[in-house]
């Protein structure tokens, strides 16, 4: 039996990484979604959950606009829109909320988990949704568990909504002494199944996932729980798990062949997986991933890239694109840089690009125009205006809505970036 080495030789960097690189901190105007947006994918992941935003018409309109064409007959999310009289008296607002929840739950017997999601207006008027959730849980237990978190724009940026949602579930999870690996993050089913399959083949004893698909799936937390984050935006959830005694396994994120291998390797080392087993389980999918990436890398190699802050996926993605596709990051902007979470990716990201945290959108647009990158990763509000100025763009939101983690999606991930460039070459206009 040979022990798995923590730092494989192939990972040695020619240049120093970015962990200690200076960060440009911006505090100006932002052009990002608020955390409510996470509901769009969270409600798909948890088919027995309903997300009830307590907010304004703006919140309802945001959800609808972000969901785009995904109009479902009766989706498992909605907005309890505050009206003038709710603002006048908080006691009445609580009564109104109870009434709406009761009506909703009687119409939807399939709902087992209800999330009350706070918004800017509910927070500004200090409508206490924690109290409401406790009260409603008592009323509807055991059929429905009511929880609450904030997806408000004054507290959360885009993917932080998922972080807040997952973190809100942690305190209520039962305790367990069992030794287990917890994978944290709402992944598309196909990705989740693949990654869990690999971990199982490696011989990792018990692998669980947060969030669980249904309320009945058992999940406990305790001192013998070790967890891997599947997404880089789950800092608060990681902290909540640590408070329950679970231990974080730092790792690069599973984007690309290298990222996936390192992510698995971090778990393999924790669970003392034999080096030969690791090699046997990962060799074939690694080779496939490399092959699939190579097709797109031809287009991407030596092209420069500029990231506007959006989902916090920016640093791991820049690492993947720089190391596996040969791209040259110019600026990597992220809404937050949480070194405890993306530290391993920063180590691997070759030194050079400007790292920026937060945003001052007009100034950042000036920097982007001056740099004229070959590809700009940005939100939907900026993409077409930049295209109209002659800059190729990739909408960042697609990176959160499509399966991009793991070996079998590595080629797809690279293609998401290659396609805008190939399209420009294809069009004769």
């Amino acid at each position: 039996m040979s022990v798995l080495a923590p730092t494989p030789s192939g990972l040695a960097l020619k240049s120093p990484g970015c962990r200690d690189a200076p960060v440009l901190k911006e505090r100006g105007q932002r052009e990002v979604f608020c955390g409510l947006t996470g509901i769009i994918w969270l409600h798909r992941k948890m088919p027995d959950a309903f997300f009830l935003v307590v907010g304004s018409r703006t919140c309802a309109h945001l959800l609808q606009s972000a969901a785009g064409v995904m109009i479902f007959a009766e989706p498992r999310f909605g907005t309890a829109i505050l009206e003038e009289q709710d603002l006048a008296g908080l006691a009445d607002a609580h009564d109104e909320l109870d009434r709406e929840v009761e009506r909703l739950l009687s119409r939807r017997p399939d709902i087992r988990r209800l999330f009350l999601v706070g918004s800017c207006p509910s927070e500004v008027i200090k409508l206490d949704l924690t109290r409401a959730a406790e009260r409603l849980t008592q009323r509807f237990a055991p059929r429905v568990a009511v929880q609450n978190y904030s997806g408000s724009g004054i507290e959360t940026t885009f993917t932080q909504g998922e972080d807040a949602c997952l973190a809100s579930m942690v305190p209520d999870l039962p305790s367990t002494e069992a030794e287990q690996l917890l994978v944290v993050g709402a992944l598309p089913d196909v990705v989740e199944d693949q990654l869990l399959g690999l971990l199982r083949d490696l011989g990792v004893p018990s692998v669980k996932v947060l969030p669980t698909r249904t309320a009945d799936d058992e999940l406990g937390i305790g001192p013998n729980t070790r967890f891997l984050l599947a997404q880089p935006f789950l800092g608060d959830t990681a902290a909540a798990l640590s408070r329950r005694g679970a231990r974080h396994i730092p790792a690069p994120f599973a984007f690309g062949e290298e990222g996936t291998t390192e992510w698995l390797r971090a778990a393999a080392i924790e669970f003392a997986v034999d080096a030969a087993v690791f090699e046997r389980v990962t060799a074939a999918p690694r080779a496939r991933a490399r092959k699939a990436i190579a097709a797109a890398a031809e287009t991407l190699c030596d092209k420069s890239i500029f990231f506007f802050p959006d989902s916090q996926l920016e640093i791991p993605l820049a690492r993947f694109l720089a190391r596996e596709c040969g791209m040259r990051p110019i600026e990597v902007g992220a809404p937050f840089i949480h070194k405890g979470v993306v530290g391993s990716d920063l180590d691997l990201l070759p030194y050079g690009p400007t790292l920026s945290e937060g945003q001052d959108v007009d100034k950042q647009l000036d920097r982007c125009r001056a740099a004229r990158p070959d590809l700009t990763v940005c939100g939907l509000g900026l993409a077409n205006p930049l295209e109209a100025e002659g800059l190729a763009t990739k909408w960042a939101i697609e990176l959160v809505f499509t399966p991009v983690h793991g070996y079998e999606q590595a080629g797809d991930l690279a293609q998401l970036f290659a396609r805008p460039l190939r399209r420009r070459e294809a069009l004769r206009l």
């Binding site: 945001l62 829109i81 724009g153 797109a296």
Partner: protein
């Protein structure tokens, strides 16, 4: 508190953004948290605009509350003025900023900017998007329009078009052409297409054409009172309405008689020709903003030969005229902004066709009823590249085409439904003229195809259970391709069975 699933209208500040985005040389400083910047994508993605809306959001955060949100607003105002050099600025609050009561108007006033600053009061917890358009435009007009001499030739303004408006771009073009044919000059089109300096000279026109009452009636009424400009009352959507509109304009312009060229108008013959017989008495349900819904009712009954079985609108402000019209048509008016209520009504009425908004399109999809879109809110496919107005002669032609189009599809779908149950088309029985070949199955678009595949080479390649399960996770619209590629790959590699690995080997092999 009211539980809302989908909304027909956004909040009122989105209406203000629509006005600002339609105009040039105007900037909107909006006191709002970061998430409210989603509104930009309505314009850049749905309408495909190549510029960002002229909006600076202050994007205050929780940590700013209580201390310096007002300061943030002033900084945003100053930066916006310096960077964009607008001719005028509108300032206001979104729903959240309304609660923290920083008074953007008052703050902006103290800054001594050398341009007009127009404060907006848009009550977010009472009103909605159309009100926001109307009120914003009214305030801009009140502030900027000055008394002026009428133009020597007879002229009018066109009021109402905004950013993100349903066919506003094309309606303005068609309408301008009609007015030109009548010999009436267009002085200013606003808000869309105008600058603050154009608003100043609205008073030069002899009268106003109120194209969309939803977005500009307030301004039209104010101009009537203060500048003595009458305005038109007919929305020129459909043949009869366009004729009425032209008569109205002829009178307002003081012209001797209506002189217009109907040679471009094809709807009457298209509707009378025998091919259209099958349209007779089709039961339609109509829902949208009141102006478009009411106009559609007339076209549907009088110009297409449909039977109107339901009529409604989501904007309460126009409930009264819509109720009156519904009574005239002998149907019950449905005034609601509750999507579920609209769905329930449609389900109960079981019409053969829906004329509605993008919401009704989804209802139609679910209930299997064809739907044509006649009103906002609309989606990206309702901003076509081609010229496609709703008003005027060409508008009437467009209505005929767009309303008939889904019906043809509907007919085809009925056939498919019928044959699906037909024993002759049953899975196990091949069509008679293909005796000896494999089974053929008619399939509806979107319906899952059978997962257990027909092997390409007579069972030589076997799908293992896991691989088959994996294949099921591939979205239906690419599943067929994934299956074929994998089988081809397996055959080339001389493999007898397909495992999950084979599936992904093939995927990597064909990656590109």
């Amino acid at each position: 508190m009211k539980l809302t699933v989908w909304t027909y209208e956004g909040p009122p500040h989105v209406g203000a953004i629509r006005v600002a985005t339609g105009m040039e040389g105007l900037h909107y400083v909006l006191h709002a948290p970061q998430g409210d910047t989603y509104a930009d994508l309505l314009f850049t993605m749905i309408e495909r605009r190549g510029q960002r809306p002229p909006v600076s959001y202050t994007t205050f955060q929780a940590r700013d509350l209580g201390s310096d949100t007002a300061e943030l607003f002033k900084i945003a105002c100053r930066d916006a003025y310096q960077r964009f050099q607008p001719e005028a600025i509108i300032v206001g609050a979104s729903c959240t900023a309304e609660l923290i009561q920083d008074d953007p108007g008052g703050l902006a006033e103290t800054m001594g900017l050398p341009i007009p600053v127009i404060p907006l009061e848009l009550p977010s917890y009472q009103r909605k998007e159309n009100f926001g358009c109307d009120e914003t435009f009214l305030q801009i007009v009140r502030t900027l329009a000055v008394p002026c001499e009428r133009t020597p030739e007879v002229s009018c303004n066109i009021l109402g078009p905004t950013g993100l408006g349903f066919r506003h771009r094309d309606d303005v073009e068609e309408l301008s052409r009609l007015l030109e044919e009548l010999g009436v000059a267009v002085n200013v089109v606003a808000p869309m297409g105008s600058r603050p300096s154009d608003i100043a000279r609205l008073g030069e026109a002899h009268f106003n054409v109120l194209l969309y009452p939803e977005t500009a009636e307030g301004a039209a009424r104010w101009l009537e009172r203060r500048h003595g400009q009458p305005f038109t009352k007919t929305a020129p959507i459909g043949v009869g309405a366009t004729r009425d509109f032209l008569a109205e304009v002829t009178e307002l312009a003081g012209l001797a008689s209506v002189s217009t060229d109907e040679s471009r108008l094809r709807l009457p013959w298209w509707s009378s020709s025998v091919d259209s017989t099958y349209l007779t008495g089709k039961r339609v349900f109509i829902f949208g903003d009141a102006t478009h819904a009411m106009a559609a009712a007339r076209v549907a009954r009088d110009e297409m030969g449909f039977e109107v079985v339901g009529l409604g609108c989501y904007n309460r402000e126009f409930a009264r005229p819509l109720r009156r019209l519904a009574e005239e048509y002998g149907v019950e008016a449905l005034i609601t902004d509750d999507y579920l209520e609209v769905e329930k009504t449609i389900e109960a009425l079981a019409p053969e066709m829906i004329l509605g908004t993008q919401m009704e399109r989804h209802i139609g999809k679910r209930l299997g009823i064809p739907c044509a879109v006649i009103s906002a809110p609309v989606h990206v496919q309702d901003f076509p590249a081609r010229f496609s107005p709703q008003v005027g002669w060409e508008g009437a032609n467009v209505l005929f085409d767009t309303w008939v189009h889904p019906l043809v599809m509907g007919l085809e779908e009925h056939l498919l439904h019928m044959f699906r149950e037909d024993p002759e088309f049953h899975d196990a029985a091949g069509p008679s003229h293909h005796a000896g070949h494999g089974p053929v199955k008619l399939r509806l678009v979107g319906e899952d195809e059978p997962v257990a595949p027909t092997p390409v080479n007579d069972g030589a390649v076997v799908w293992l259970a896991d691989a088959e399960k994996e294949l099921r996770k591939v979205p239906f619209f690419v599943r067929g391709k994934a299956r074929r590629n994998t089988e081809k790959f397996a055959a080339e590699q001389g493999l007898g069975e397909i495992s999950v690995d084979t599936l992904y080997e093939a995927k990597a092999h064909y990656a590109r």
